[in-house]
C-alpha cells in the first residue's frame, strides 16, 4: 500500500503527456469523432452533390 502511494506521488509530479491527456478525455474524442466524418464525408459530399450541373 505504502509503496503504491509512493509510486503515485512520484508519478503525479510528472506531467501527463498531451496525447495521453487527449486519450483520457472522452468528450474531446467525441468531438473529434463527430467532426471528422461530418466535415470530410458529409459536408464535402453534400457540397459535391449540390454542385452537380444540370443537363443541357
Amino acid at each position: 500500500m505504502q509503496k503504491n502511494d509512493n509510486q503515485e506521488s512520484t508519478q503525479e509530479e510528472e506531467a501527463v503527456p498531451g496525447m495521453q491527456q487527449l486519450l483520457d478525455n472522452p468528450f474531446m474524442l467525441l468531438f473529434l469523432g463527430v467532426m471528422f466524418p461530418t466535415v470530410f464525408y458529409i459536408l464535402w459530399g453534400i457540397m459535391e452533390i449540390i454542385s452537380i450541373p444540370a443537363v443541357k
Binding site: N4, M19, Q20, L22, L23, D24, P26, F27, L29, L30, L32, G33, V34, F36, P37, T38, F40, Y41, I42, W44, G45, I46, E48, I49, I52
Partner: protein
Amino acid sequence: MAAKMFRQCPDSGLFFHKSAESLMKAHAVLGVVYLLVGGFLGLLVALTRMPSLHLLSAEDFYLALSIHGTAILIFWIIFFEMAVLYFAASTLLRCRPATPAFGWLGFLLMVIGSTLVMVAFFRGNSSVMFTSYVPMPAEPIFYLGLILFAVGALIGCFIFLGTLVIAKQEKTYDGSVPLVTFGALTAAIIAIFTIASGAVILIPTWLWSLGFINHIDPLMYRTVWWALGHSSQQINVAAHVSIWYAIAAILFGARPMSEKVSRTAFLLYILFLQLASAHHILADPGVSSTWKVFNTSYAMYLAVLASMVHGLTVPGCIEVAQRKKGFNNGLFEWLKKAPWANPVFSGMFIAMIIFGFIGGITGVVMGTEQINLIIHNTIFVPGHFHATVAVGTTLTFMAITYFLIPVLFRRELIWPTACKWQPYIFGGGMLILSLFLLGAGTLGVPRRHWDINFSDALLQFQFAGTAITMLGIAGFGGFLAAVGGALFCLIAVGSLVFGKRLDPGASLFSSFGFPMASSCYNVERPGKLGLAPVEQTGDGGVQAKGTFVLALVFLASFVVYFFINAKYLSSIWPMG
C-alpha cells in the same frame, strides 16, 4: 446511508450494479430474440438462393431478406451492443450507471421501434430491404420505428458517457480507464455519429412517406444513409475488438502488448473509420473521385492500419501470456495448447481469424475505388459482410455470452458438449457461405436477386455453371450456419431457464431482466479498482514470434488477393 446495490461475482470477481445488471440482461435477451428471428429468415433466404431448391416465392423472398437484414444487422447487434456498453462502463469501472431510469426509457424506445418495424414488414408493404432507398416507399411506421429505435440507442450511448463521468468523479478507479472500456468508448462515439446521421436522413424520409415533403434526393439519401449504414458496422468493429481484448484478459490474464499502441489504434478508428461509408457510393454518379478516394481509403487507410495493429496485438498478447505460462516451444505451442474446447476462446479466435483473413481483406479490396466496379452490388458484398459481421461480430458476441451466462445471469451452461462444438459449426458454416458467395459474386451474380436463371424474364441470360454450383454450396454452408445459430439460441435460452442456479437468488425472472433477490446485493461500494499489477519481468524476452509469422501470412494473402483483383479489373472493357 446508501443502499447496497452491488454484488460481487464469486467466480470472476467482477462487481455488478443492480440496475446496470438488469439493463444488460434485458438488452442481451432481446438481442438474442432478434438473432433467432433474423437467423431463421436467413436460412430461408439462403435456401431460396440455392437454385436447386428455390424455396420461397419472389414476394416472400424479398420480404424475408428485408427482415433478415434489419432484424439481425440492426436489432440483434445494437441490442447486444447496448449490453456491452453497460458492462464496459458500469461493471468494469465498478460504477453505478448514470440515470438508470433513462436506460429503461431507451430500452423501451428500442423495443417499440423495433416492433413497429417488424409490424411494417409483416403488413407486407415495406419490403424495401434495410437500406430503404428512396424513392421506393415503405410505410411511415417503418421509418418511425427506425427513428425510435435509434433514439433509444442514442440514450444508451449518453448513459455510457455519463457513467464514465460519474466513475471519474467518484474515483471508482485509479489511472486511466481499462483498454476494454476505451474500446467501448470508441464504439459509443462512432454510434453517436452514426445515429445522428440516421436522424438527419430518416426524419425527412419519414415526413416524405407521410406526404409532408415531396422529394428526397436519392443521391443525398444514399450518401447520408450510408453514414448510418456503414458506420454502424464500425460500431461493431470497435465493440468486438474490445471484447477480444476482454476475452484475452479474462481467459489468459493477457495484458496489452502496449497500451499506447492499442489506444492509438482506437483513436485512428475514432477519427477515420467512419469515412469508409463512401464504400457504398463508389459506383454512384455525381461525387468526385477525389472525395471517393479520400473517404473510401479512410484518409490513406489509417483505419486499416489500426485494424492490422489490433490483429497483431490481440493474438500477440495471448501468445505472450501463454509463453509466460510455459507454453514456450516453437512458434505455435502457445496456440496449440490454447483452450480450444472452451467456446469463449474458440468463438473469439475463429471470429478473429475469419474477420481478418476474409472479411478484412475482401472489404479493403472491394473498397478500392476502381475495383469496386467489378464488385458493386454483386453477391460478393454479402459474402464479405457475413465474414465481418456474421462471424466477426456475431460469433464474438456469442463467445462472450458463454462467459456472461454464469457470471452475469448466474446460471450454469446446459449441454457442455453442444457448447463446445457450437462455434465450430457456426463458424464453419459461415465460412462456407461467405467463401462461395464471394466466389459467385466474382462471376457477377447479383445480390438481392430471386432468380438468376431469369425464368420469368423476356430477355435471357445464363450465368456460368460454376456460379450456380457455388450458390448451391453457399446454401449448404448457410444451412450449417443456421444450425449453429439455432444451437446457440437454444443453449442461451435453455441455460437461462433450466441451467443450474449458481446463486440461490437467481430466479427465472432474473434471467430476463429483473434483479436477483435483494439479499444478493450486499456491497455498498466496491473497493477502488486499482492499477493492473506491474509485470515482474520485462516483455523483452518473450516476444510474440508466432503471431508475427501469422501476421506475415496475412499480409502476403492480402497483397496477392489485391493484385489478382487489380488484374481482373484490367480485363474488363476500357472505360473512363
